[in-house]
């Protein structure tokens, strides 16, 4: 427990220092609990998520970094590897491929990469996965774009 706390403090400092370096990621620690983090990530360009800002919730276990943090989307997103209702993310590095060398920051980067490169073969969102697997890129794009505009972009007017 002590080790995870120390490591999270170090990461917090690192995040403060690298804030300028990575404008796509904004990692914020909960004021009262260092094991709760939220992140705001920008949708990668040239994807249907471009222009959207997505909120992630991190729940860091006490065994961190030996155990991966639990991450989920708080913002609705239409993506084959994200559960549409719960926001759960299907990403290998958050499951069995986790390595203690990863940080919360790098997890955010991995999630951004996952948004740009969906894996329709292990879908949590079957509709999205089926669209991609059937080659209906246009359908996938328009659906994802619609939900990005609905949920992840500031409302106009």
């Amino acid at each position: 427990m002590q080790a995870s706390r120390a490591r999270l403090f170090k990461e917090y400092k690192e995040v403060q220092r690298e804030k300028v370096a990575d404008p796509d990621i904004q990692l914020v620690c909960d004021d009262s609990n260092i094991f709760k983090w939220t992140a705001l990530i920008k949708g990668p360009s040239e994807t249907p998520f471009e222009g959207g800002v997505f909120q992630l919730a991190f729940a860091v276990p006490e065994q961190y970094p030996l155990q991966p943090p639990q991450v989920r989307f708080l913002t609705k997103i239409f993506h084959p590897n994200v559960h549409f209702k719960t926001g759960e993310i299907c990403l290998d590095i958050l499951k069995n491929a986790w390595s203690p060398a990863w940080t919360l920051q790098s997890v955010c980067r991995a999630i951004i990469a996952l948004m740009a490169h969906p894996e329709p073969d292990s879908p949590l969102n079957c509709d999205s996965g089926n669209l991609l697997r059937s080659g209906d890129l246009r359908g996938y794009y328009s659906m994802a774009r619609m939900y990005t505009k609905l949920a992840a972009m500031p409302k106009k007017g």
Binding site: K10, P65, S99, A101, A113
Partner: protein, 389 residues
């Protein structure tokens, strides 16, 4: 120098008191004048050599970065030659004949073997390393120097055979007495090896670099006097080693990153977003090859460890690595971490954070199996002990 200043001080103080005291001081000075310059000379020489040793190591490092300009090398070469000659003049009192023998052997080696000219620095560094050992351990020059000679003669592969030769000689000469010294020295050579591989692969200007490398072949002989002068101060050399290894690993660190061929799900090979601080997934692919290569030359684990960067802080807990941690290499992939985190990981899932492969149960055993060269020397002893008892 210190003694000189003391006498001067006494002389300066003397006129204030009276003339008699001054005379005494003068007499004293006359009396002691003879021995002091000798000591001064020795001190001066040794100091210069120590400074030069540090300087040469640093400048060698920078040489790696700066495309190794031939002119610089030539200048350094001249300086080294001067150093060597001056050192030889001092040392001639002690071991004139031996030195000459060694020097002749080296000259022979350089003349006879064309690949000595192609000669990469690691080879030179290694043969140099083996000579280091001779002086450190005060073993016979005659018995060991032919060893390195034959190794270079036999080898069609310059660096590799030199590695084996030196590793065998080092392990034979050091019976576990000062392992750290051996490791650091070999580390240095190995680091250079990796460095050269790296530069060969990456830099197009290698053909131009081959020429500047040529002066390097003469550097090994001139390393030697420094080793001799440094031998009274083994501690300084020992402490030099690791830091050098650390600095040396920087270019390799830069090397491994562009190699990333994303076979993980999260990152594509052409992904510009991939953070460089992440464990390199491509290591799984790229490292076994380098393993094989190094094993092929007779098991040089420190060469391998030199290839991998040595971080200043543990990537798991972000605490600074101390000396024990930096020399601790639990996994073949070269991922370093502190002993504390290693223990915690062993208790949990026991997988290396760098390559995600399960750790060997006994990292010491793993290292022993890796230390192919030295293991062959140690095993017979233990076996014979067992059979006796």
């Amino acid at each position: 120098m210190v003694s000189d200043s003391i006498t001067n001080a006494s002389i300066h103080a003397a006129p204030n008191n009276n003339n008699a005291a001054r005379d005494v001081g003068k007499k004293k000075r006359v009396r002691f004048q003879f021995p002091f310059p000798v000591y001064d000379l020795l001190l001066f020489c040794t100091r210069i050599c120590i400074y030069w040793l540090i300087f040469s190591k640093i400048s060698r490092l920078f040489g790696d970065f700066q495309a190794r300009s031939a002119k610089l090398k030539q200048c350094k070469l001249d300086v080294r030659r001067e150093q060597w000659l001056s050192q030889g003049a001092v040392k001639n009192k002690d071991c004139k004949a031996e030195q000459n023998g060694v020097v002749e052997e080296r000259k022979d080696r350089n003349n006879h073997h064309p690949f000595g000219n192609l000669g990469m620095r690691p080879g030179g560094g290694e043969s140099d390393g083996s000579i280091h050992h001779h002086h450190h351990h005060d073993s016979d020059l005659d018995s060991n120097s032919p060893n390195s000679l034959t190794s270079s003669v036999l080898g069609s592969n310059y660096s590799e055979t030199n590695f084996t030769g030196s590793s065998s000689s080092s392990s034979s000469s050091s019976s576990g007495g000062c392992c750290s010294g051996n490791i650091t020295e070999d580390d240095e050579g190995g680091g250079d090896d990796g460095c050269l591989d790296d530069w060969e692969a990456v830099a197009d200007a290698l053909a131009a670099n081959e020429k500047p490398k040529n002066p390097c072949l003469e550097s090994p002989p001139e390393h030697d006097p420094i080793a001799q002068s440094g031998s009274p101060q083994e501690t300084t050399i020992g402490s030099d080693g690791p830091s050098f290894g650390v600095e040396n690993s920087k270019p390799q660190c830069a090397r491994t990153i562009p190699k990333a061929s994303g076979n993980g799900l999260a990152w594509r090979p052409d992904d510009a977003f991939r953070p460089q601080s992440l464990p390199n997934l491509a290591k799984q692919v790229s490292l076994p090859n380098s393993n094989r290569k190094h094993y092929g030359c007779g098991g040089v684990p420190w060469a391998y460890s030199g290839v991998v960067s040595a971080p200043s802080s543990c990537p798991i807990c972000y605490e600074d690595l101390d000396f024990t941690d930096t020399s601790f290499l639990p996994c073949l992939c070269g991922f370093r971490l502190c002993l504390f985190c290693h223990k915690r990981i062993l208790e949990e899932d026991s997988r290396c954070p760098g390559c995600r492969k399960p750790y060997e149960h006994e990292p010491v055993e793993a290292e022993a199996s890796v230390h192919g060269g030295s293991l062959t020397f140690r095993l017979p002893r233990s076996c014979s002990l067992i059979t006796r008892s």
